[in-house]
Amino acid sequence: MVGLVIVSHSASLARGIKELASQMAPKVPMAAVGGTSDGRLGTDANLIKQAIEQLAHCNGVLVLMDLGSAVLSTETALEYMPLEIEDKVQLADGPVVEGAVAAAVESSLGKPLAAVKAAAEAAAALKKL
């Protein structure tokens, strides 16, 4: 299965999204990473790197991020990661909550990384009303 890493500025938001997505797909490996190591709102490239490496055994890793600097920190983390892990990682350009749920379901069906990423990004077009 493809592993999911949820990156948010808020540790509790990251945990909550992981919880929500896990409810739909309990077997999908997921890591939630948010906030700084001293408990502020923000993102930490080093913590993101560790979260991705935790899921390096998966059949690909998809990272879902909330606001701008989460993306910058994730890209920074990838730049300093061993190439064999970096090659297995993709970033999803989609909404972090809906995208995580869609990606979790897709991954639980055994789909490859490209399909899981496509599902997360397609969530941007989901209509609620």
Binding site: S37, R40, G42, T43, D44, L72, E75, T76
Partner: protein, 212 residues
């Protein structure tokens, strides 16, 4: 200019002190158009740098700069972490294992820092970001060095260009970062990132001027 590694370390400490002294000012700028944390975040990052630098007494210049970069990416918290962190990392990679920095290294390092920031932030001049201060500064530095000025004089020209760049950000709408959510409401405010870049360059210039 012949800057030793120990002087480079002192220069970075001086930058950290200026960031700490301007913590409230930078945060106030960021509270107008962002998430009100730029000064706090930068001060956190440079505090961690301050603790780290004494462990690098025997390191070369590139290692010092790269370590500053790695420290910033994992301690700042906001976008300025990966942005300034990448800037120091790229400058360190470009400068490599030198024991003494010359004017040409200042130019190489700042060009690499600018390219790193533009790539990481996907920002161009006019987006109301660090780039609006750093790009004109790098160009002014290069022009002055080509005209035969000393490193201190060239950095002086860079500081003036960065200050003009900060002023310029007041008249444009943010297209990157948290301020871009505000659209036209970002007009009239100077960009906090451009401001911290100006402060850092000014501190470097003052440091060089003091020793010559």
């Amino acid at each position: 200019m012949g800057l030793t590694v120990s002087e480079l370390t002192d220069m970075i400490q001086a930058v950290g002190k200026v960031i700490e002294d301007n913590k409230a000012f930078l945060t106030e700028l960021d509270s107008a158009i962002g998430d009100a944390d730029h000064g706090i975040n930068m001060a956190k990052g440079f505090h961690a740098v301050k603790e780290k630098l004494p462990t690098l007494a025997d390191a070369d210049a590139g290692t010092v700069l790269k370590t500053v970069g790695m420290t910033l990416v994992s301690t700042v918290g906001g976008a300025s972490g990966p942005l300034y962190g990448t800037a120091f990392l790229r400058a360190g990679m470009k400068i490599g294992n030198k024991e003494e920095l010359l004017a040409v290294d200042l130019d190489l390092g700042l060009v690499a820092a600018l390219e790193g920031i533009k790539q990481r932030g996907r920002a161009e001049p006019g987006d109301k970001t660090i780039v609006d201060a750093l790009q004109p500064a790098v160009m002014a530095l290069k022009e002055s060095l080509n005209a035969g000025k000393t490193a201190t004089e060239a950095l002086g020209a860079a500081v003036t260009a960065a200050e003009d760049g900060v002023e310029y950000t007041k008249g444009i709408i943010a297209r990157k970062g948290r301020a871009s959510y505000l659209g036209e409401r970002s007009l009239g405010h100077q960009d906090p990132g451009a401001t911290s870049t100006y402060l850092m360059l000014r501190t470097m210039q003052e440091f060089l001027a003091r020793r010559t």
